[in-house]
């Protein structure tokens, strides 16, 4: 047996504690990857008339797949430590919500008095009913009037938290791995535009050393001085102190639309992020990465030591503007993460020369030659037409004879020679504009643009198959994640999703303010949760407005107009949070909606 029986908590693991309930193979699912599941033993213990809940993961060897490298081993080890529930007094448990549905694994979500919740605990061998029956014998527990699956402990009836929980329709929560049909019902709850139900079900399952950091950051975020709290003696589960009065509770919530309904998002708490992350549900966005912290990602010669951690950090917070010039080059793939300062400097020189050569290819075409070169004239004039109408409101591109507009032009014409098959296409100037704005240097901008187009040039394919595959993927994702909307769009004959065309073609460039476009793109470029995060953003946006779309019975025309009209009225941070939750919730089913080679994934090599 691979159980570490003695580790159940220092206070209650001793001989005097009595085991009230025990169940083996209860697991958490930190990611959608089944091999990453953490299984453990769940117990209710009684010590001197108090009950405690524990869940201790089994030790690694032989129980989980042998990880292929050290990193994996380390992270799952860390996960096991992070997620362990060591003797939480049942007096601190507010409610238990159970999910029992045929064909789907049963799990419970335990919510604490402070409003925080543990990630779902999956009872792979059943036993939830027995658990509840057992608890009834020992603690005061009532069933919620609103939700038969919600059990309230130690509690008065109908407090705000409970209302929130029931209004979130938690009964529709389904595990990542479960059938799509059930997911839709859950997600229906999420799409509420008003989001009046506010709850923070986040929990920090952390160790003592990071707890202080978390509290500090938390206080800063909500602008409230955290009262210092003696380190928990009974509970080793460090929690954020939630303000107690109802109104304050509302104020300090992180996410208003999605609460503990997401499964698996607690993956977020680990290593560096642990220092910032208030929410294991991933609701909290971080402040942008700034210089000082960036330096910690580099070794003495300038290599990025842990590129995944970096990408994760940027995914959750973006970059401070001053860092963009340096870091975008990594995100775009122009710079290798393991390159040194010196190598990058050499690359810059080398690429500059290369760019000069490429540019000379078309700059040396004489007027006489151009006369006989219709294709060249056509391309050049197409670029000329577009650069003079690209972001001219921005001071950087404003005014007559603006040098930056000339740079846009030269880079795009050079690109149309570099990638002659694609050439110049409308939308490319939109992609290049923020890159040049950040890089300023012409050659560096060109190569960054080239790197971006490695992924996105298929958006501009002559046969438009790159676009069609993405639109199709959005359709499938909506079918998976919002079946009422899917049904509506189907009967309204709108399943071609052409109303999302602009969103996808230029990755929301026209939908957000310039600064937010840069923020969004760096988040997308991390490819952190998925390469196709932009598709989840589409779904998140559609879902957000689903009620309006359906209530007003929008036809294709209205829908297009409505969607185009959203430009400039979208809240990026909220959209990012929603899209993240959807992505996590969709899990493998989401991945299955997006065929291999769908941009921005690199094309699948032909055999």
């Amino acid at each position: 047996m691979l159980v570490q029986g003695a580790k159940d908590g220092r206070q209650v693991g001793g001989e005097e504690s009595e085991v009230i309930f025990v169940r083996e193979n209860v697991s958490m699912h930190p990611t959608q990857d089944a091999s990453q599941r953490i299984s453990g033993r769940f117990r209710i213990l009684k010590q001197s008339s108090s009950l405690f809940m524990t869940w201790i993961p089994y030790t690694q060897k032989g129980n989980l797949k042998v990880a292929s490298d050290m990193n994996n081993n380390k992270s799952s080890e860390r996960d096991r430590n992070l997620y362990s529930i060591r003797a939480v007094p049942l007096a601190e448990v507010k409610s238990i919500w159970r999910h029992t549905r045929p064909l789907v694994w049963q799990y419970i979500i335990v919510v604490l008095n402070c409003g925080l919740a543990f990630p779902p605990l999956y009872f792979h061998n059943g036993g939830i009913k027995e658990l509840l029956n057992k608890l009834k014998e020992h603690v005061h527990m009532v069933r919620s009037l609103d939700d038969a699956n919600l059990y309230l402990l130690n509690d008065v009836v109908q407090d705000p938290l409970q209302k929130s929980l029931s209004s979130l329709e938690l009964r529709d929560v389904v595990p990542v791995t479960s059938v799509a049909v059930a997911q839709n019902q859950l997600l229906a709850a999420i799409s509420s535009e008003n989001g009046s139900s506010k709850i923070n079900t986040a929990i920090s399952v952390s160790n003592e050393s990071t707890g202080y950091e978390q509290r500090k950051l938390y206080s800063r975020r909500v602008g409230r001085q955290e009262e210092s709290r003696p380190s928990a003696q009974q509970s080793h589960c460090e929690r954020e102190q939630m303000p107690q009065s109802d109104s304050k509770f509302e104020e300090t919530t992180i996410s208003d639309e999605m609460a503990s309904t997401r499964v698996g998002s607690f993956e977020l708490v680990e290593s560096k992020l642990n220092d910032y992350s208030l929410s294991v549900w991933g609701r909290a966005r971080l402040p942008p990465l700034e210089n000082e912290e960036w330096a910690t990602f580099l070794d003495s010669e300038g290599r990025v030591v842990d590129s995944k951690a970096l990408r994760k950090r940027i995914f959750y917070g973006g970059l401070g503007h001053r860092l963009r010039r340096e870091v975008w080059k990594f995100l775009l793939g122009y710079h290798q993460y393991d390159s040194t300062y010196m190598e990058r400097e050499e690359l810059r020189t080398k690429k500059y020369k290369e760019y000069k050569l490429l540019k000379a290819q078309w700059q040396t075409i004489s007027a006489d030659q151009a006369k006989r070169f219709a294709k060249f004239r056509e391309r050049k004039s197409r670029v000329e037409k577009d650069v003079v109408r690209t972001d001219r409101i921005l001071p950087f591109y404003a005014g007559d004879d603006n040098q930056n507009v000339s740079k846009l032009h030269d880079i795009l014409v050079t690109y149309s020679f570099y990638n002659f098959d694609i050439g110049y296409c409308q939308g490319m100037s939109d992609f290049l504009s923020p890159i040049l704005f950040v890089m300023e240097d012409e050659s560096e901008s060109f190569w960054c643009f080239v790197a971006l187009m490695e992924h996105l040039a298929p958006n501009f394919n002559r046969d438009q198959n790159g676009m069609h595959s993405q639109l199709l993927a959005v359709a499938k994702l909506v079918e998976l994640l919002d079946s009422p909307l899917h049904k509506y769009l189907k009967q309204a004959d709108c399943l071609n999703y052409f109303f999302c065309f602009r969103w996808i073609l230029i990755q929301f460039k026209r939908e957000f303010e310039y600064e937010n476009v840069m923020r969004l793109w760096e988040v997308l470029w991390t490819h952190y949760l998925t390469e196709h995060f932009h598709l989840y953003i589409c779904v998140a946006l559609l879902k957000k407005y689903r009620r309006k779309i359906v209530d007003e019975q929008m036809d294709f025309d209205c829908l297009l107009r409505f969607i185009n009209g959203l430009s400039g009225h979208l809240n990026l941070e909220a959209v990012l949070r929603d899209a993240e939750s959807l992505c996590i919730l969709a899990g493998d089913s989401g991945v299955a909606c997006i065929p291999a080679g769908t941009p921005p994934s690199l094309p699948v090599p032909m055999l």
Binding site: E378, S381, R382, K385, D386, R389, T390, R392, I393, C425, Q426, G427, S429, D430, F460, R462, D463, Q464, N496, F498, F501, R502, L505, I506, R510, F556, D557, L560, R561, N564
Partner: protein
């Protein structure tokens, strides 16, 4: 005449990129001109209430991306169109030469029931530029093409100077409405074989 079921006229503007499609639409609907338009991505439309003879109708004017690469989207955008406006830039020969492609592409994608008589209107835009000195497409040439395609009404416009824009769209509305009327006649299963296209065009004095 049968009672109308709808008074929405759908008008599609097509033409090479940069000929001024968005500008024409905005000048007509919003009475505004800006040098700062962005290249249209995908499609968008504006609506305007118009008085056509004694009828009040809503014109839905569709503005589309000008690059031919995006034409495959047309299927979704063109369907149900009542009139198609072909725009070229009098200063750019290529944009005129492409009118044929735009017209054919529209007919293929929109697949109107009566291809022969589907109403088009051609606009030669940007006549203001350089006082007309930089124009490369003669009015005569453009009119010749229009005649050869079944007497397509032709206007020379400047979205920037608001030249002829109102007149052009009045004609567009009239022809779109006529197309509507013809559809209406088909509805009650009475086919008027005499109601041909040439007759319908003649009322638009252009």
């Amino acid at each position: 005449m049968a009672t109308r079921k709808r008074t929405l006229l759908k008008v599609i503007i097509l033409g090479d990129s940069g000929v001024g499609k968005t500008s024409l639409m905005n000048q007509y609907v919003n009475k505004k001109f800006s040098n700062q338009y962005k290249a249209t991505i995908g499609a968008d439309f504006l609506t305007k209430e118009v008085q056509v003879e004694d009828r009040l109708v809503t014109m839905q004017i569709w503005d589309t991306a000008g690059q031919e690469r995006f034409q495959s989207l047309g299927v979704a955008f063109y369907r149900g169109a009542d009139c198609c406006v072909l725009v070229y830039d009098v200063n750019v020969m290529k944009s005129f030469e492409n009118l044929d492609n735009w017209r054919n592409e529209f007919l293929i994608q929109a697949n109107p029931s009566d291809r022969e008589n589907f109403p088009f209107v051609v606009l030669g835009n940007k006549v203001d530029i350089d006082g007309g000195n930089s124009r490369v497409v003669a009015e005569k040439k453009a009119k010749g093409w229009c005649t050869s395609k079944g007497n397509i009404p032709y206007f020379e416009t400047s979205a920037k100077e608001d030249l002829n824009v109102e007149a052009a769209f009045q004609c567009i509305a009239k022809n779109a409405l006529k197309n509507e009327t013809e559809e209406e006649i088909y509805l009650p299963d009475t086919i008027d074989v005499n109601n041909g296209g040439s007759q319908s065009k003649s009322t638009c004095e252009c």
